[in-house]
Amino acid sequence: MIVRVGVIGLVLLTAAVLQTSLLPFLALSGFRPDLLLLITIAFALTDGLLSGLRIAFVAGVLTDLLLSASPVGLTALVFLGVAYAVGTARPYLAPDSGTASILLAIGGTAMGVAGYGMLAAMLADDPISLGLVVQATLVSAIYAAFLAPLVTAMVRGLSRQFPTEQGGIA
């Protein structure tokens, strides 16, 4: 269990570094993929609700610590909502379905990015425009469709190597 926690922590840290160092080069019209959100979705889909929620909280706080303008905890709230939605939908999906994972990645990313955009728009001094939220949601969702198979395969491999003690919630 400790090894699993350590490995997942390392994965999240690596994702955070990639998110801030490499993925900005992939930006389309200034928007880029949200790797930490994708990893959260993949864990919620592979390991179930409990594991998904825990990872969502850690990934969200990690993202918040790398941000400056928004308060710590805001991204964690959004990630928790996405992980809960994906984890709840999981029992109704065919296990190991590639299409389902891609569709959930697209839907979850759209929900997460749009949710964060709306929360930020409510809390920010200079509100983010609706057009900006829509653009970011679309671009992130498109990127999610391309990255989902890779991220899900990695998380499934990790989950097989370091399984949860109780398994996911079916």
Partner: protein, 333 residues
Amino acid sequence: MYNRRRARALLAMLVVSALVLVTVDFRSDGTEGEGPLGALRGLASTVLGPIQEGLSTLVSPIGDGISSFTGLFDARGENQQLRAQLESLEERNLSYEDVLREDAELRALLEMRERNDFTTVAAQVIASGPSNFEWTITLSVGSDAGVRRDMPVVSGDGLVGRVIQTTPDTSRVLLAIDPNFRAATLHGASGEAGTLQGDGGSPMIFRPLDPEIELDVGDEIVTSSYSNGVFPAGIPIGTVSSADRDAGLLTRVVEVRPFVDFTRLNTVLVVIHAPERELPGLEIDPNEPFTPPDVDPNAPQLPDAPSETPTDGASPDGTEPTDEPTTSAAGAG
């Protein structure tokens, strides 16, 4: 069923924890490095900074290749816009005088730029912000190198942003395209003041104080030293890309295309010190004798000088009124 209840309990606990974090961060204003969460942010930057710096050096050539490929998607739109600009320029039928005037203005701007004698620190861009709604970069220099909050950051092309957070080894910069970024600016050609705000994407928003100002596509927008001098005057920001005027609006919104390509920032300069421009002093000859103005003490009193006595009968200094007629100051001599 037991597990589902457990999941809901965990969700509730984590949501409450997140809300507590949000509240604590709001109250302590953690963005400035104050409070426990500000310190945690600094710690995250300190720990991840060296890794990001190493990775940035490693992936920079790969990233340049990738961004060249993704830039193709933007190229078509930019091409159409440039064609439209070319057509509008051809239609303008510029006169010789107009070209001379524009030349003089551009020379003045260029001279102003060259006069800036900045003290700067060079920095490598080691990371970008992780969110799609916050446009920030992390630099490889921090407070140990003299970088402080609110210092301007420039590249060879123009204004990049301002420092919003520092640790000993790294600093975070809010890019000029972030919606939270604001700067006092000037329309280069006319000197008309206004404010500039980021809008997330490439074009920024310039709001001139005078909405009736004459603006043309291609006009340059530069920083102004208003707003307590956060930015030195004369740093180029971008050119006007859309100067349409909406009738009936009290404020005018002008799109500005930045000179800086924010997706390809590698090395920037943090302006540690910008010399203040001194106004030329008054030239007074100290040897010139003082000659008082000619005043004739016997000059006749003005005939109808207005009385300063209040109409309610009280004298200006609050004393009781007398029966003597009041005199004006002009006739007191």
